[in-house]
């Protein structure tokens, strides 16, 4: 701001320090003027505000200092969680009521059957029906390798395909593709060109997943093969392990 006062010189630091200390003391001497009163009042205001703010901050600061959009986000999250839990409670209490009513064990049996069906489908030991897609990979030059088919399968799985069949063979969790002398094999069985994938899952999601730029169909095209996707309302996969 302003230049140092003229009496301050590097040669004589002692007297200037005393001058400043004296000035500080003079500052401390009370004088009854309007300006002094106002200054005191403003200082009082600062002290008051600081203490108020410190005390306000001491409580739960997570929500007190959050902005509106953050609070809305938290509220939304809590509401959807509440909905989900309510639905869970409804489901479970219905099951509980059924189980209590049921003396001959029918409900328990049905529940167990339903679960067995689900696990059977996931494990590939039961046939399944549902909407899905059929993907045909035409490969006239035999350029498609096992890892490209594996990529295709993983893309389908990521997109929510629950049941997959390739050329009449069920694909399960530990299935593998292998490059062999006579072409690609799946779990040791030979596959023939064109490769026909059947996948049960949401047809739209599955199609979108295969059509991602630089994804499955693009890389097939680069290799000289073509993948054709048809959506179907109902696909039945009968191949089992």
């Amino acid at each position: 701001m302003t230049e140092p006062p003229p009496e301050e010189t590097p040669d004589a630091p002692e007297p200037t320090t005393r001058v400043h200390l004296r000035r500080l003391l003079r500052l401390a001497r009370p004088r009854a003027t309007v300006g002094q009163a106002l200054t005191g009042l403003l200082c009082l205001l600062v002290g008051f505000a600081v203490v108020t703010q410190v005390q306000a901050n001491r409580g739960d600061t997570r929500f007190a200092t959050a902005r509106q959009d953050e609070l809305v986000g938290v509220l939304d999250e809590q509401n959807s969680r509440l909905d989900r839990l309510h639905r869970d409670v409804d489901d479970l209490s219905r099951t509980k009521a059924d189980l209590e009513k049921d003396h001959r064990g029918d409900t328990a049996l049905n529940e167990a059957r339903r679960r067995a069906d689900t696990y059977g489908i996931l494990a590939g030991t039961r046939p399944a029906t549902g909407p899905g897609i059929a993907l045909t990979i035409a490969d006239p030059q035999h350029k498609v390798t096992a890892d490209m088919l594996l990529n295709t399968l993983q893309e389908l799985r990521d997109a929510g395909a629950e049941v997959v069949q390739v050329d009449g063979a069920r694909v399960i969790v530990n299935s593998y593709f292998l490059d062999g002398p006579g072409g690609v094999t799946l779990d040791g069985g030979p596959l023939s060109v064109p490769y026909r994938f059947l996948a049960i899952g949401d047809p739209r999601t599955l199609t979108t997943a295969l059509d991602i730029p630089g994804g499955v169909r693009d890389s097939l095209k680069t290799a000289g093969a073509t993948g054709t996707v048809t959506r179907r309302d109902s696909i039945t996969i009968t191949a089992v392990k």
Binding site: A28, L38, A64, R67
Partner: protein
């Protein structure tokens, strides 16, 4: 002296009255406090340099706090409230450090 007494009285009053910050003022009080601190340190520096003027102090104190709060209010209205309050705190913090450094040089020549 009166300033120090005022400061102490304010702290004591705050501790005794235990006031709750009104909801509408909550985002602006911290900024106003930082602005007031800047004015206080500026006043101390001016006094040590021998250019202190009570009128200047009162006006700068009030305008500092009001402008800081208004900037944050404006920021809240146009959707950049948190960024603007950060900006205000940074600028005022730099000024406070500069003022304290000047005070330190005056008092201790260091």
């Amino acid at each position: 002296m009166i300033a120090v007494i005022g400061l102490a009285a304010g702290v004591v009053l705050g501790l005794i009255l235990h006031p709750a910050v009104p909801l509408a003022l909550q985002p602006y009080l911290p900024i106003a406090i930082v602005a007031a601190l800047d004015a206080l340190f500026g006043a101390l520096r001016a006094r040590l340099e021998g250019v202190f003027d009570e009128k200047v102090f009162v006006v700068s104190f009030v305008s500092n706090t009001v402008i800081a709060a208004v900037i944050v209010l404006l920021g809240d209205l146009i959707g950049v409230g948190s960024q603007l309050s950060t900006a205000v705190v940074v600028v005022l913090g730099i000024r406070i450090f500069a003022n304290v450094a000047a005070i330190r040089r005056k008092l201790f020549h260091a």
